[in-house]
Amino acid sequence: MSAPNSSYDPVEVTPLNAEEVERVRDEALAAIAAADTLDALKQVRIDHAGDRSPLALANREIGALPPQARKDAGQRVGQARGAINQALAAKTAEVEAAEEERALVTEAVDVTLPWDVEPVGARHPITTLSEHIADIFVAMGWEIAEGPEVEAEWLNFDALNLGPDHPARTMQDTFWVTPERAAMVLRTHTSPVQARTMLTREPPIYIACPGRVFRTDELDATHSPVFHQVEGLAIDEGLSMGHLKGTLDHFAQAIYGDGMTTRFRPSYFPFTEPSAEMDLLCYVCHNEPDAVADCRTCKGEGWVEWGGCGVVNPRVLVACGVDPERYSGFAFGIGIDRTITSRYDIADLRDLFDGDIRFTQPFGVEL
């Protein structure tokens, strides 16, 4: 018995009946619709779109049809397979999305759990305020000068017109280094840095000197034997008190904002002549008529004391080798610790120095 000649034998191929193809297609689409997991879809794909699926098998029979019938059958089977594949793709995407959705839901966590295992550092406000002030002066073209804290008596006093019998020497309660003939002190101000700068540099000089200084005050809420100040010195041709005022007004605005200003009151410092105390417009009430009376910061004055200043005494210029006929200059100083306590409402100066980490932490790394 010879095998049928599939090319030519007219055979009846059941799977290629239009009704049968439609039935198989509908069966597949129903199975796809019913599948709701990726695993189920995988099985549906094998059963209805795989190599052994009815339509795949039917497809192979097309060649056996007479040429006339091939086209119709091919079209019919192709369309059915296309519909199934399309439905499969759509359903797969749908199920994948749903599964991902489920997975995301089950993976959800409480993101409010605190991540507090790493220590958080901070820098002391004395440091950051000193840097902030330095930046203000650097922005004006000034430079920052420094010097030792155990200082020669001559540089701390004599060079600054504070002679051995000067009453101001007793005014400043000085820590003296042993033995007394060592002629050294813990610097009582950062002014010796100004003297050092004048001694070693040619004018013009524009410097700010932040630093730690010492006086023999017992520690209490408002006094400390160790404190910090920043002083400024400008030596140039033609400088006047007007330039001093301009510098301080600029400084006040840079720290406290627009509209800030300073005022001068006459005072006495051996290293400046004329000398002035400077007041800063109250940075809380701005001396506004309706706010000043109740202002706690300035106690109704409208101004707060800020520091001392003046025109550099020509005697200081001479001792430091600057020609007073050609050059003049001005100097000023403000307390950094006091600026911090008043600005941040800190009642007790001791908080700055006892090192409780809760004090420094809120200041972060920048002021």
Binding site: P114, W115, D116, V117, P119, G121, R123, H124, T127, V138, G141, E143, I144, P148, E149, V150, A152, W154, D158, A159, G163, D165, P167, A168, W176, T178, E180, A182, A183, M184, P204, Y206, R212, V226, D236, S240, M241, G242, H243, G246, D249, R263, R265, P266, Y268, E273, P274, V311, N313, R315, V318, A319, G321, S328, D354, G355, D356, I357, R358, V365
Partner: protein, 825 residues
């Protein structure tokens, strides 16, 4: 200086509408800064009353009270034309004029408001006042009885008794000694308000001829000495109330008429005066230096041992007064003194300052002498005192007047008339300059563009042209100074060291450390706690003559003293995990007895002279210190944390070095206060610049700290000095890398770092060497450990061949063998 405003208004005819607040504000602008305005604080209906009737009523408690009807004027009387008041004092009778505080009066001395109250069976409708209750000087045992006919019932007693007086407490700067007197404040007030000023020291001296014999041997300390005698003084006379009140208002005590007069004149014209009991003097007065060890009992009853630095007033018996500071007890004015020798001497400021300091005797007199007293005043001061002793005490002024020496003329100060404008920035014309200087008492000679100002005798602060500028500007007004921002030449910004210190600060904060600022004082107890050996160089301190505490007699040599104190405080306040750091100077004395030079101030010291400062001053490098206690990583919901270990301390230091691109070497070290087995020396180019690790258990015990606190301290200046401008640039070879791992067995004692160094140096091809595992246990012999390193090999110009890689590996193994390491098999 306490200035009663009524007294000031007597000297200067201030307009009535100038309030005390305005006056104070104006004087503040004249360098007489207001400290506070003092007033009695008494308010309310305080009136004069006349006692109409007085009934004595004995009480059960033994006291007798007076039930009085007092006429307090039509405005205040009740319908019966008086008020009923209970009074416990007995020094008054019917008809007397008294002072009554009616309900509503506030008396600060009592601390409450007077009200009508029921007492001893009557309603007492007010209070009859004593001096004390009104805050006045005088007898506290009885009530005030006014002079008959001195007032009318119902008169305001606040005005009558001067209780409404206000006192300006002015801060007088050391250059303005003249303002420690009504004369000085009055002159400045007149200048401030452009008013005439009648100088209270413009006193005509009447004395002629020989006075009490005085010889001045120490003319340097005492350029002028004046003396005047008053005899027949009545010591029983009281001080008039107006004078006593002014003395008290000025902050001194009223003592007796004679003493009060000397103090009053001092307050008035600023010249201290001393009164001797003339009858107690023995022989002529001699002013001389004290001899060492001489004794003097001063007015306060203290026996003082004198030094050759003191100047004394003596008579035949020896010292009778510590010149310009305090008189002696033997010759003091007593309540029986009738004959008085008035001394007004000009003592030099430095001598007085020295003596007052030496004997710890600051007095009203020394305060004035130290700041400078007008040398033209001695004779006039004696005249003023003599006049008052005669007027108020019935004394006779002796004709003889002693004046030894004379004031020297102050040299004129020359100045360009433009200087005040140049210095102040305010446009001030020549006429204004001259006027201001004359207002300050200078005699001014103007010659075209320049002037010569001769300062008045009381102005010791006017010596230089700039001193005159200040006086001119004071008159023109400091508020006239313009505001001009000067243009500085282009600055170079922060120095490298300044920038790197900031960077270090930020790196430390980034590493979770909190910066603290501690005091740099320390002492032997600190070094004992740190366990420093007796000969440790860190025990050599810069010591202070006057430390605040004997426990901390000098400057610290290590930041750990302050940091550990801070750590103790933090743990004591309940913080468990504390990571703190400090950046600051430490103080390392020069060897030997260094002395800083003192130079003159009339020229710049030479460069060599300036260098001598540095040679003498202690070395004061910036250090960075840190201590960590508790957990470095906190235990939490995510799992167990991790305690800070020695490695964390080393890591922070390493991090700093890396950030600064400085190659430091870590070596094993044994240095207190660190644990001998857990201490790393940080070595920079062969020099140890610091240590890091765990603290010694003994140190922790001494501080009462928990176990396993770790710490580090390094010389930041050294680290910064070694920091290159930019870090070493890697060779960007694009050829492939070859990776080789080596596990090496070494003795436990061999530091990993030394093996790593040897490996890194074993071949040019080595790009990096990283330790990735340390093992000791069953797999290696006792006393040995296995260190595993990852080597990366690369050539700049070619792909390495297998042979090259093998050779490099063999070189590395061989190099490791040189320090006793064997390849693990």
């Amino acid at each position: 200086m306490k200035v009663p405003v009524t007294w000031l208004r007597e000297l200067v005819q201030l307009p009535d509408d100038v309030t005390t607040e305005q006056l104070a504000a104006r004087l503040t602008q004249f360098d007489l800064k207001l400290e506070e305005i003092i007033s009695s604080g008494i308010s309310g209906p305080l009136v004069v009353g006349r006692v109409l009737s007085l009934v004595k009523e004995p009480q059960k408690n033994g006291k007798t009270i007076n039930w009085c009807r007092v006429d307090v004027g039509p405005e205040h009387n009740d319908d019966d034309g008086a008020r009923g008041i209970v009074c416990g004092a007995h020094n008054f009778v019917e008809g007397d004029l008294v002072v009554v505080s009616l309900p509503g009066t506030v008396l600060p001395a009592l601390g409450f408001e007077i009200t009508a109250r029921k007492t001893y069976g009557h309603v007492s409708d007010g209070m009859i006042c004593s001096s004390t209750e009104l805050g006045l000087p005088g007898d506290a045992s009885g009530i005030i009885v006014l002079d008959p006919d001195s007032a009318t019932p119902g008169d305001d007693a606040i005005a009558l008794l001067g209780l409404g007086d206000e006192i300006l407490d002015l801060e007088v700067n050391p250059d303005r000694g003249y303002a420690l007197s009504m004369r000085g404040v009055g002159r400045d007030t007149a200048l401030a308000y452009e008013l005439e000023f009648a100088d209270p020291a413009a006193i005509e001296v009447t004395g002629t001829g020989e006075g009490y014999p005085v010889r001045v041997e120490d003319a340097e300390a005492c350029p002028v000495f004046a003396a005047r005698a008053v005899t027949g003084f009545d010591p029983t006379r009281p001080t008039p109330p107006w004078m006593a009140k002014r003395i008290e208002q000025a902050g001194m005590r009223s003592i007796s008429l004679a003493v009060d007069i000397t103090n009053y004149v001092m307050l008035e014209i600023g010249h201290p005066i001393h009164g001797f009991d003339l009858s107690s003097l023995q022989g002529p007065i001699v002013v001389r230096r004290a001899t060492e060890g001489e004794k003097l009992t001063t007015l306060d009853g203290v026996v003082r041992t004198l030094s050759a630095d003191d100047t004394v007033v003596t008579d035949d018996r020896g010292p009778i007064s510590l010149a310009g500071v305090m008189g002696g007890a033997e010759t003091e004015l007593s309540d029986a003194t009738t004959d008085i020798l008035i001394e007004a001497a000009h003592w030099k400021a430095p001598m007085i300052a020295r003596t007052a300091r030496l004997h710890k005797l600051p007095s009203e007199a020394s305060k004035r002498y130290e700041r400078g007293v007008d040398p033209e005043l001695p004779a006039r001061a004696t005249q003023r005192v003599a006049d008052l002793l005669a007027e108020l005490g019935g004394g006779t002024i002796e004709d003889g007047l002693t004046v030894v020496g004379a004031a020297t003329q102050r040299p004129a100060v020359e100045m360009s008339v433009h200087l005040p404008s140049r210095v102040s920035g305010v446009d001030i014309d020549a006429a204004a300059v001259v006027e201001a200087l004359e207002g300050n008492g200078c005699e001014v000679a103007l010659d075209h563009e320049s002037l010569a100002a001769t300062p008045p005798s009381w102005r010791f602060d006017l010596n230089d042209p700039n001193d005159l500028v200040e006086e001119v500007l004071r008159v023109v007004g400091y508020d006239q100074v313009p505001s001009i921002v000067p243009v500085a030449p282009a600055g170079r910004g922060l120095t490298t060291a300044q920038k790197l210190r900031r960077r270090v600060g930020n790196v430390l904060a980034g590493d979770g450390l909190i910066e603290v600022k501690t005091f740099p004082f320390a002492g032997a107890a600190d070094f004992d706690r740190l366990g420093l050996p007796a000969d440790d160089v860190r025990r050599r301190q810069v010591l202070l003559e006057n430390p605040l505490s004997a426990e901390e007699p000098g400057m610290t040599t290590t930041l750990l003293t302050g940091l550990l104190r801070s750590l103790v405080l933090n743990l004591g306040r309940g913080h468990a995990d504390v990571h703190i750091t400090e950046t600051g100077r430490v103080f390392l004395p020069q060897s030997g007895d260094a002395e800083a030079p003192i130079y003159g101030v009339d020229r710049r010291p030479t460069d060599d002279e300036i260098a001598a400062f540095e040679a003498a001053l202690p070395h004061q490098p910036h250090h960075v210190g840190l201590v960590m206690s508790g957990e470095r990583v906190r235990t939490g919901w995510a799992g167990p944390g991790r305690r800070a270990t020695w490695a964390d301390a080393v890591a922070v230091v390493q991090h700093l070095a890396d950030e600064l691109h400085v190659d430091v070497e870590v070596q094993q070290a044994h240095v207190m206060p660190w644990h001998p087995g857990r201490c790393a020396a940080i070595v920079l180019e062969g020099d140890v610049i610091g240590h890091a690790g765990e603290l010694h258990p003994r140190v922790l015990k001494a501080y009462g700290l928990p176990a396993r606190v770790v710490a580090a301290e390094i010389d930041l200046d050294a680290l910064i000095a070694a920091s290159p401008e930019i870090g070493p640039r890697p060779d960007f070879s694009s050829f492939p890398v070859a990776k080789e791992d080596l596990a090496l067995i070494v003795d436990d004692e061999v530091p990993a770092a030394s093996l790593q160094r040897v490996l890194a140096a074993s071949s040019d091809l080595i790009e990096s060497v990283r330790l990735f595992d340390v093992y000791s246990g069953d797999q290696v012999a006792d006393g040995k450990k296995s260190l595993a390193f990852a080597l990366r090999l690369r050539a700049p110009d070619r792909t390495l061949t297998d042979d090259e890689i093998r050779a490099a590996r063999e070189n590395a193994v061989a190099a490791a063998a040189s320090v006793g390491a064997a390849l693990r098999t």
